[in-house]
């Protein structure tokens, strides 16, 4: 019979892959619960998931495409913008939701044990549903603008995954910090807003001077957005050096985030 040892953890804490894997059904159930309850007692239900990216696209097209005449790599501005807003929303919603997730699930954390990592992971992955709905709209828009996808579309899941992992890697830090410092919850919306302007959502990365491109890549979302747009619309290939820097940053943030989260999670129940 298995023997469970309960004692204070010190120093390096194992990730606990096996435990995490064993709890994969819980991941599914948490996501499923959020989906089922999110639009309970709303009139248009999942329609709200579309409202935000669609309205943003409309406004950005008017302001940046029509008035400011921001270049769009030779693409119609609405589709140029939407193809970036989609992965950006996936990232931003995941980041916001996941950052708050640990405190939101405080009731559970204080009552029952399960691998805590499940919480931010579930809060990140659930946004794939909204993303999928948005993707359908994007496909409609592509048909409307007669954009035929190239082979590069096969790389879409890769960039999508990087967007999710970026959100997760940052929110692992923030969600854990938010337990002790609730200031984090207020900082995140501000942060995502600024972050968006630091990413090529409204403008092409080609606007950024060549000499600064490397630093630009330190923002993982720069590579993701450029890559996503390229994979779908196949106009300008991203700067691969920039994408490599982005990936390296995500990997570092993620490993550090998991370790940090595991280290402080033992205090969650006492602090929430």
């Amino acid at each position: 019979m298995a023997v469970l040892v309960i004692e204070p953890r010190t120093g390096y804490v194992q990730v606990g892959w096996r435990e995490l894997w064993a709890a994969r059904e819980l991941l599914y159930f948490l996501a499923w619960r959020d989906l089922k309850t999110r639009y309970a007692q709303t009139a248009i239900g999942a329609g709200w998931a579309l409202m935000q990216p669609l309205l943003s696209t409309l406004i950005f097209t008017l302001v940046f495409g029509y008035l400011a005449k921001v270049p769009s790599d030779g693409l119609p501005y609405p589709i140029f913008a939407f193809a970036a807003i989609l992965p950006w929303s996936l990232f931003a919603r995941s980041l916001e939701r996941s950052t708050l997730s640990v405190v939101t699930e405080g009731g559970l954390i204080k009552k029952v044990y399960f691998p805590r990592l499940i919480i931010p992971i579930a809060a990140t992955f659930i946004n794939l549903v909204d993303f999928a709905v948005g993707l359908l709209i994007l496909i409609g828009m592509m048909a409307w603008y007669q954009q035929v996808p190239q082979w590069t579309v096969l790389l879409l899941p890769l960039f999508m995954s990087v967007a999710l992992l970026t959100a997760l890697s940052v929110s692992l830090w923030l969600s854990a910090l938010n337990v002790k410092y609730r200031d984090v919850a207020s900082v995140v919306p501000l942060m995502t807003q600024l972050w968006m302007f630091a990413s090529p959502v409204l403008y092409p990365a080609s606007l950024v001077p060549e000499s600064l491109r490397w630093y630009y890549g330190l923002n993982p979302m720069a590579g993701v957005i450029e890559g996503f747009r390229w994979a779908l619309l196949g106009k300008t290939a991203p700067d691969w050096a920039m994408v490599a820097v982005s990936l390296a940053v995500v990997a570092l943030l993620l490993i550090g985030g998991v370790m940090f989260f595991r280290r402080v999670e033992r205090t969650f129940a006492d602090l929430i």
């Binding site: 040892v5 309960i6 204070p8 159930f29 089922k36 029952v112 399960f114 984090v184 129940a269």
Partner: protein, 439 residues
């Protein structure tokens, strides 16, 4: 393989008070403290943080299949112990070894979401408690039937009555088949009939060689169900041992014993007529005992010296509950000595109390010697002795099969009779029922 289910050694938990307070817990506070440290000024906070040891050096062992009680006042560390054992929080020191599948229930309905239906919540809650989806699906019907919410299983639980909510929550837990089950005051909820069902389920669990840790304020539940118990006080184990002894200790806090004696006649309470020498609680067979089976007759005796001849005296006992409610007062009516002047000497008067009469719980007895006509008190010692009445839970008491709290200072097992005849034709319609639906 050892036959230990849970083994706890030196378990301690220290809480730092005030860490969630604004000054310490805010980001700004942490940043300024960090900055000051960097700049090399004096440490930001010179006073040590307030700490509270919610649990201090607690060690015990629970055997497989044992029902183990944990008692103590609020803030004694019970919840902290539970939280550590169910891995919600981590100990500061010490360790606990848990052999087997473990399930802690700190609250019924953990993981329930009000907007979800009963069905969804069963799966949700089951998943959080660590059950596999297939396992939940397999036991689903059983869970719902046990909770008696079949009709409402597809209704969001926010529309449930609190009773239904609790029943469904407990039912999920009860069907987890853990090797070790922790229950914290859960049985204090739901109606009496459902409590009994829960008890039955837990006994089932016990009979399958499973271990139950019961945390409760209900002392009679602890004595009835647990074989052993620990008493926590301010985070430390005050006493460990057989459940009824520990409960006794808890209730008496060491002040009340089944015997009080005054060996020195000068010190003995009384006057120049009578002096009290001893009061004793005894079982039917005459053994001094502080635990009395509710079904068995018992006796309380008072030993006294009469120093002046020719006095007509009576002994008196006053029985009070733990809360100091007077249950009854009895005066000595032994026909041999009633209204008869007593010669000088040593007397032992015994009051016989029938079985199935007192209520469960602690009884505190005061003893005294009086003259009735005219009324005169020679001596009176309130709260002289005490004892505890326990119901063995065998079902042949006034409690029957009921398991919950039972009020009242006495609990007689009365003779009941029943008359029965069928209802006349048409009577039922007056109640607005169809006769056939009455069954």
């Amino acid at each position: 393989m050892s036959n230990t289910a849970v083994s706890v050694t030196g378990l301690s938990k220290c809480y730092r008070l005030g860490t969630t307070q604004a000054q310490d817990g805010s980001l700004a506070g942490a940043l300024t403290r960090g900055l000051r440290r960097l700049i090399g000024g004096q440490p930001a906070s010179s006073q040590p943080p307030d700490t509270l040891w919610a649990l201090r050096d607690v060690s015990f062992e629970i055997k497989k299949g044992e029902v183990f009680g944990v008692i103590g006042t609020n803030g004694s560390g019970k919840s902290t112990l539970l939280k550590i054992l169910s891995r919600v929080t981590e100990p500061t020191k010490g360790r606990a070894l848990i052999h087997g599948r473990f399930c802690g229930l700190l609250e019924v309905g953990t993981g329930f979401h009000p907007e979800l239906t009963g069905r969804d919540n069963v799966f949700m809650s089951g998943a959080i408690l660590g059950m596999k989806r297939q396992e939940i699906a397999r036991k689903f019907d059983e869970i719902v039937a046990f909770a008696e919410v079949e009709q409402f299983i597809d209704t969001p639980v926010k529309h449930y009555s609190s009773g239904m909510y609790v029943r469904l929550g407990f039912s999920v837990l009860a069907h987890m088949d853990p090797d070790i089950l922790i229950v914290d005051e859960v049985l204090a909820v739901g109606d009496v009939r459902f409590q009994k069902k829960c008890m039955g389920k837990m006994e089932d669990v016990g009979q399958h060689g499973r271990t139950v840790i019961l945390v409760s304020h209900d002392m009679s539940a602890i004595t009835r169900m647990c074989s052993r118990a620990i008493l926590l006080n301010k985070g430390e184990i005050l006493q460990a041992g057989p459940a009824h002894e520990v409960v006794n200790h808890y209730l008496h806090a060491g002040h009340i014993q089944p015997v009080v004696e005054w060996p020195d006649p000068i010190q003995a309470p009384g006057n120049d007529v009578a002096r009290l020498r001893a009061v004793r609680v005894k079982s039917e067979a005459g053994q001094v005992s502080d635990v009395i089976d509710i079904r068995k007759p018992m006796r309380v005796e008072i030993e006294y010296d009469i120093l002046k001849p020719g006095q007509m005296v009576v002994a008196q006992f006053g029985f009070n509950t733990e809360e100091d409610v007077i249950a009854f007062i009895v005066n000595d009516r032994d026909p041999v000595w009633y209204r008869r002047p007593r010669p000088v000497g040593r007397y032992v008067s015994t009051a016989w109390i029938p079985g199935n009469f007192l209520s469960e719980g602690t009884m505190v007895v005061g003893g005294g010697i009086f003259s009735e006509d005219p009324w005169h008190e020679h001596c009176d010692v309130p709260r002289a002795v005490g004892f505890r009445v326990v119901d063995p839970g065998t079902g042949d008491t006034a409690r029957g099969d009921v398991t919950g709290r039972w009020e009242g200072v006495v609990r007689p097992l009365l003779r009941w009779t029943t008359e029965h005849r069928s209802l006349e034709q048409g009577t039922t319609s007056q109640y607005g029922y169809d006769c056939s639906s009455l069954g």
